[in-house]
Symmetry: C2
Subunit: 626 residues, 2 copies
């Protein structure tokens, strides 16, 4: 048996940090996103009755926004049905059934705005929308047993297969925004119908093989932006649009886990490693590029703007970080799939942890109502004021979360991710269960029930009870943890971790207690990350910490930490740990000097994900340490 993921439906998050957040999605976020999507016409678009001159003109990616919201509703329904939410979904499904074309095609933008142009422009998110609708349909079918949506989507997939793979009548070969590929693997898993795996594999294999005709985006560099510059098995470096890239890599890893294809496995490993060792913010966020223009050779009239994309190795500027919430989420999905390809290595679960507590979670406000699309990794209002005064054309990420964006991919990704976060808890085979994340929960792995009780991530105390069977357990010792004790029925386990996992046998009735000592760590970047040279970041447990101006004053560039003392507290209003460190603020009127005035103060750090919940203020992760 290959290693499998324990799916979210086998696990109940019972308490604590993530339970609170799941309840927040159910009580607030799912409705807030629904209202904003309804107000902006995203639901009405499915009725296909928009007319020129009316507000809320349908947009190419709207279907995907609603689809992800439906997927989130489905995940919640799997735990507890919500008739009001299902009624909304059922109406959308009825709209699709009524509105779809005779050949199975459905796309609310193309059918209403330019029906003659369907399947002509690869960058127009058409197959991306199809992929998200398909994922939603599978999840909805699984949670509710209502098969209508999935049947509609199967028809659509059959038509896509005919156009792209069988007849090859479309002017391009593979989606410009990847997503459908991983959805097709899900459909294969759900139906065990091999044709869906074949179609996914076709889209993967054709990538980088066939020059598309020259059509706007289909320039050589635009192909790199869409990961179509090389055959996937030859790709060495993660480049181009970050969300597209990691969605592609997810499908590659999915396929590599299901077919025997060492070249694909090696490519996945290379790309994962490239991101984690050269292209990832400390928060797990990826895709550092704000908008910039590509430099074509002199004299060329070509023009292309790059944004939301990977930049060069080690280029991870903080104040202009794009770091899209969806990209962080996609990288967690990729890491999860890598854990199944390479099950004995905890680095993938470490990466997931880095993302879910930091670079992904920052995208969502503490009150559950608003979102970051881009996630700042430094806010320096003084610097911005100067740049604005100088009319510098520079893209800074926004400083406050908002309820909806024109391009609103991130909010519904929160709606679908949080309810299914238990997906990241365990992977297993018939001999061993890997305990990847620590959340209070009850999980069913075959005949075995695993009960976790923990104050994680606020403390490192974990109790795990096994009942119903016998299997080896592999407890992840997080990479951040330098000291821990693991006891089995109160007796210490002395086995050393291998690749981040401590292996220990378990049988019915065993009680394991794991204590991960949480300390403040002082982290340096690889020196080649020029943006962070000379700087230190603090972490506490799984949290990357940051300073905010509201606690520490503006102009945080003046702050220097002195000594290594810390004290740990808790910020009740934010509901997060707070870390206090001795620091000085350095100022001088001189530009260059070997003397500087220093005022001592106590710097307060909070977890990065909780930044920007108290009004517009400065924020800084990387700080000078004496």
């Amino acid at each position: 048996m290959r290693c499998k993921n324990l799916t979210y439906d086998k696990i109940e998050i019972t308490d604590g940090f993530w339970r609170q957040r799941q309840e927040l999605v159910r009580s607030t976020t799912v409705w807030n996103v629904y209202r904003r999507f309804a107000e902006t016409g995203r639901f009405d678009a499915f009725k296909l009755n928009w007319k020129e001159g009316e507000p809320n003109k349908p947009h190419i990616y709207w279907d995907s926004d609603v689809a992800k919201w439906i997927e989130g509703v489905a995940y919640m329904a799997q735990k507890k049905r919500e008739p009001k939410l299902e009624a909304i979904v059922d109406e959308v499904v009825d709209d699709i059934a009524r509105g779809r074309m005779a050949d199975g095609y459905f796309n609310s933008y193309y059918q209403q705005i330019e029906p003659q142009n369907r399947f002509t422009v690869r960058n127009n998110h058409e197959l991306y929308c199809a992929g998200h609708l398909l994922e939603a349909a599978i999840a909805y079918d699984a949670a509710t047993g209502k098969g209508k949506f999935l049947e509609l989507m199967k028809d659509y997939v059959a038509f896509i297969k005919k156009v792209f793979m069988d007849d090859r009548t479309a002017p391009y070969t593979a989606p410009g925004h990847e997503e459908l590929e991983l959805a097709l693997v899900k459909l294969y898993d759900y139906t065990q119908d091999r044709q869906y795996l074949d179609l996914a594999l076709y889209f993967i294999n054709v990538r980088g093989q066939i020059d598309p005709p020259n059509q706007g985006w289909a320039q050589p560099d635009a192909r790199a932006y869409e990961q179509d510059h090389q055959p996937v098995r030859e790709q060495e470096e993660a480049i181009g649009h970050a969300v597209r890239a990691v969605y592609l890599y997810c499908a590659m890893a999915d396929l590599a886990a299901r077919i025997d294809d060492p070249g694909l496995t090696e490519a996945c490993d290379r790309l994962f490693t490239n991101i984690s060792e050269q292209k990832m913010y400390i928060t797990g966020a990826i895709g550092s590029a704000p908008t910039y223009e590509w430099a074509f050779p002199k004299g060329s009239s070509q023009k292309a703007f790059i944004h939301e994309a990977f930049e060069e190795n080690y280029r991870l500027t903080n104040e202009t970080s794009y770091a899209e919430t969806c990209a962080a989420l996609g990288y967690a999905l990729f890491a999860r799939r890598m854990a199944l390809l390479d099950p004995e290595n905890a680095r993938y679960a470490d990466t997931v942890e880095r993302i879910i507590y930091n670079g992904f979670l920052s995208g969502w406000s503490l009150d559950g109502k608003s979102f970051f699309y881009e996630n700042a990794h430094e806010i320096d209002l003084g610097e911005r004021r100067l740049a604005f005064a100088f009319k510098r054309k520079i893209h800074f990420p926004i400083t406050q979360r908002v309820e909806v964006f024109g391009c609103s991919c991130c909010p519904p990704n929160v709606v679908r991710f949080i309810p299914s976060i238990a997906e990241f808890l365990y992977h297993y085979d018939e001999k061993r269960i890997y305990v990847d994340q620590y959340m209070s929960s009850i999980a069913q792995v075959d005949e075995i029930t695993l009960t976790q009780k923990t104050g994680y991530p606020f403390n490192g105390q974990i109790t795990l009870t096994v009942s119903g069977g016998t299997r080896e357990l592999a407890f992840r010792i997080p990479a951040w943890c330098k000291q821990y004790t693991l006891c089995k029925n109160q007796l210490p386990v002395s086995t050393a971790p291998q690749n981040g996992y401590v292996l220990v046998s378990a049988e019915d009735g065993d009680v394991f207690t794991l204590e991960l000592t949480m300390q403040v760590r002082r982290i340096k970047s690889n020196p080649r990350v020029r943006a962070n040279r000379g700087m230190t970041a603090l972490t506490y447990g799984p949290f990357v910490l940051c300073m905010e101006g509201v606690d520490n004053g503006e102009e945080l560039c003046e702050v220097k930490l002195v000594g290594k003392e810390v004290s740990i507290g808790f910020d009740d209003s934010l509901g997060v740990p707070a870390v206090f460190c001795p620091a000085v603020r350095e100022n001088t009127t001189e530009l260059y000097s070997d003397e500087v005035t220093r005022q001592s103060f106590t710097a307060k750090f909070i977890p990065y994900f909780a930044f920007a919940n108290r009004g517009e203020t400065d924020m800084r992760i990387w700080v000078e340490q004496e």
Copy 2:
């Protein structure tokens, strides 16, 4: 008597660092620049016989290139006549006499390319060329007594005065590229004819007062680029094109020293302070902006590209520094003028020293043949390779000096600056002589002869002998110097410095010995200079030091200095001091870690000005210090 500058013609540089460089200009640089200018048609342009279709089409700023070269020839002639060089100059003068228009106008570009458009586009360097021709004519007349050139230029100035000040028939009011203003003050000083001072003052006063008609560059922001956004007395911050700005400020300071105008004096002080406390590289270079596009309000079709300009306060990025050689020179000229306005403060001479040994001198190769227009403040070839691979549209300064540029303002500025560098040595009034710079030299201040003998800048030993009269001396103790001894006739002088000067009486026969202890200093930037946060620069005497890859290996971002030991040596091949420090190179494959591999080595530093004389290699001023 107001404080006066001791002009270069009263001083002979006799030996040492600057004497060698003056000889290099005479033997090599003046001829090299001549040949390259002749080959590119800059001298032929004065004959006004270029025809469409021929190579070397005249350019709007060519007159100024030749003018600055002539000015340099004049300064050399003042010391030693060179008939071959004078023959070239005389031919140019004859060409102007033959070619100029009946009204006195001369401009080789406009007369040949678009004669109908003279004095219509303020940004086209027309009055800038006139200013440089005028400066050249004054210097040539003073050095050789040949009056023809100056008479031609006086006619031209009379015509300019008529068009711009008397009749106001030009569609703009003041030069778009300032320079003529300071040349007019020189003409006033040379002739004592008040009308030239009035014309300079008119150009200064009209600036920022009259909205020009809408003509391309004459947008509000372009006016800021040309320092025409506000009346000069209201200007608070140095903005826009850096060379234009400092040339303007020179004229403002010149006027403030000659008329009673506290508002002008205060504006000069504000602008000088703004640059020195917020806008200057540690090398004294200014104007950090590579090309960037101005962000006009959304929907605006206006477009303007900013380059060679001041950026926001504290924005001094190293790897993209523009830091034009001419701008550094212009800032030295401005500092010199400020010393005459505020004679008792050594900060101006300190600034001059910072510039002439660092950010200006770096613009000229050690062999005297080639030049930097832009002066890199960091060369990171690894970063560039990555950026090029990613087709990032980013302007990095060139890594190797070249013999001529399309826009070749900097090479002839070296030709005129080095022969006249003695201008910076002394300023004085009837009571006191300020010793501003230390160079082996003989100077005549009224009846007093001052003889300096020194190994400066390689060591801090200075002997100054006074003969022929009695006056107070003010010895500058450089801001970098923390320890010194001054003796008068071998007896220590115990007076403490005031504003950087030690005052001591001197009479005929007195011998002063000053020993400035040169140490390696570790300098930090103001914390608001985000580019240098966490970094340290080393200086030694007046030199800012840098590391080069050729000595220390590539990827200098990995280098960290450990401890504060240093040893001082001398690099014979470069002819400069070398400083050796214990260091480590940090590498890691991990992106974020609290552990890092360190290899110890001895880092070698050389003076910044000597960088890029041994092939293309990395260079770094700011380095992490443990």
